[in-house]
Amino acid sequence: MRARARGPAVGRAPLRLLIPAFLAVAFLTLPLVALLARTPWSQLADRLTSEAVLQALRLSVVTSLAAVAVVTVVGVPLAWALARLDFPGRSLVRALVIVPLVLPPVVGGVALLSAFGRRGLVGGPLDAAFGVTLPYTTAAVVVAHTFVALPFFVLSVEGALRATDREYDVVAATLGAGRWTTFRTVSLPLAGPGLLAGLVLAWARALGEFGATITFAGNFPGTTRTMPNAIYVELQTDPDAALVLSVILMAVSVAVLALLRDRWFDVAVQGAVRR
């Protein structure tokens, strides 16, 4: 409606802009439509209950949730420090947090191997001292997931904490609250919507992780073969199974999108009201 109302005043939208724009939309939608079209819907129930799919599904749920737990435990304090403390090198820390966001996941996997591999920087001494090896275990999957999901979470929560008025911290201090109490009873609840958005975002990122996982944790059924890894394997042997797994992950993505749209909307509205 608005586009049409705006039209006559400045003239018709030029085709040389409209056509590429349409092509871009078509290019983005077509593969998803094709995926839905090719999915063997009649076999969906059978496929879902097949051992290989169930195993991958279970492993993915467990590892992604474990990663989200780790991300929360270390991510909230980091986000708080970035949002509330003035310390030298804060922008450097923030840059370091963002790096995994732009790093190719497979490079992340190689980096994790260099650190925690059997001959890695930390992994070597760990192996020598305790006989603990991390790579190619379920724990390694969680580590890989955490590595890629943490930045999303920290940035989301830091943004939410910054959006809440710092004057509330001052109020709490004059009422006798220490910083921990203030964090727990004021800052965190006020940043609640942003925290939830960060959790969902981090979980979705972990669930879909492929590159870093397969590099650092391998692809062993039952221990490190998560859904994306299973899709990669099944595509070569049983394309229908790959399609079913893909549709599940796609459904999760769409659900996350729907959930976050509301969340982000709420956060935006609350921010506006407070201002």
Binding site: E167, Y168, V171, A172, A173, L175, G178, L190, G192
Partner: protein, 358 residues
């Protein structure tokens, strides 16, 4: 106890700004801090609260040193017993009114049940007990500010800091809350500091007025004193207001010199009556108009003041009148001239500083 209850010398140095204010107060004193925007009023309050470190000087309250940079003493804000009311209220938006008020007692270690009882008591005293379960978003501006006052008082503060508590409210709501505040401040046994840019607040709620200008104390004294004998032109502009104290019954106030003042609004008990210098009319003969408050007096000073002329009289302990330059010439106003001053009952605002007024 030796020394004053509050003994502060607040020095805050920041690029382009210097605040250097000395302030001492006895228990029960209500000190109005008045001054133009950017004078350093809020800085002073935040420094006393401990949320802004002072560069030099010291803050002592109730026999305890809160801050003294030279000796490396600095008590965190949460360990000072202050209560603070902010201009925008700043109630925690995710907590009910009750939980907001109980926040102070809770963070000072009271069990939840005790904290809730204290909070309910204060909500009741502020007349908002029935709103206990509401969230701040469901409160009107006046209601929210009452809850904010209850929250500040619930922690049993030794120093109560009110940073323009009325300025964000509608005029009518502010007037009602001003009366309420007057009552609570009169019954408060710690030191209260009221930051305001409204001379009326300063002169009616406070027992003392501290005029801060450009980071320094321009004047410090009782309200009547500051209003009648402003130390500088700047102070005169800020606090140019007549304030008469007396005992009220209905629409009549018996002033301390025995004369009577007629007001339009009824009141009861110890009151302050305020009116603007521009509300005072001067005549050379006894006026015969509708103004029922009239005094004979001698002019003590005549000074140009903006577009008008400010005249000081010795009537009722000292009056200020602003007249136009032509009428000043017509009346032949010079120190020593005898004139009649009159003010209409409707021009007078009455404020109680006692529980007698509701």
């Amino acid at each position: 106890m030796t020394g004053p209850f509050l003994d502060a010398h607040v020095v805050v140095r920041r690029p382009g700004h210097l605040l250097d204010v000395r302030l001492q107060a006895r228990p029960g004193e209500v000190v109005a801090v008045i001054g133009p925007n950017g004078a350093g009023k809020s800085t002073l309050v935040r420094a006393l609260a401990g949320v802004l470190p002072i560069t030099d000087g010291r803050v002592r309250c109730d026999g305890e040193t809160w801050e003294e940079p030279r000796r490396g003493v600095r008590l965190e804000a949460r360990r000072r017993h202050v209560g603070m009311v902010f201009q925008q209220g700043l109630l925690f938006p995710h907590l009910s009114a009750l939980r907001n008020v109980a926040f102070g007692p809770r963070s000072r270690g009271e069990p939840r049940r005790r904290a809730d009882a204290v909070a309910r008591g204060w909500l009741d005293r502020l007349g908002v007990a029935d709103l206990a379960e509401r969230r701040p978003a469901q409160l009107s501006g006046g209601q929210a500010q009452r809850v904010a006052v209850a929250r500040a008082l619930a922690g049993d503060p030794r120093l109560l800091l009110l940073d323009e508590p009325l300025s964000a409210l509608d005029v009518g709501v502010a007037a009602a809350l001003r009366l309420e505040l007057a009552r609570h401040l009169a019954g408060y046994d710690g030191v209260a500091l009221l930051v305001t840019h409204d001379a009326l607040d300063a002169l009616t709620l406070a027992t003392r007025v501290l005029v801060v200008d450009d980071g320094r104390v321009a004047q410090d004294g009782p309200p009547e004193e500051v209003a009648r004998r402003p130390a500088t032109d700047h102070v005169a502009r800020l606090v140019g207001l007549n304030v008469l104290r007396g005992t009220s019954e209905g629409t009549t106030v018996r002033l301390r010199d025995g004369s009577l003042l007629v007001t339009a609004v009824p009141s009861q008990g110890e009151v302050s009556a305020g009116f603007a210098p521009s509300a005072v009319t001067l005549t050379s003969e006894e006026p015969v108009g509708s103004a029922r408050n009239r005094w004979r007096g001698t002019v003590t000073s005549v000074v140009p003041y903006g577009a008008s002329v400010r005249v000081h009289l010795d009537a009722v302990g000292g009056l200020i009148a602003d007249v136009t330059p032509p009428s000043s010439v017509r009346l032949g106003l010079t120190p020593g001239t005898t004139v009649w001053a009159a003010v209409k009952a409707t021009e007078i605002s009455v404020y109680g500083r006692d529980a007698g007024l509701r």
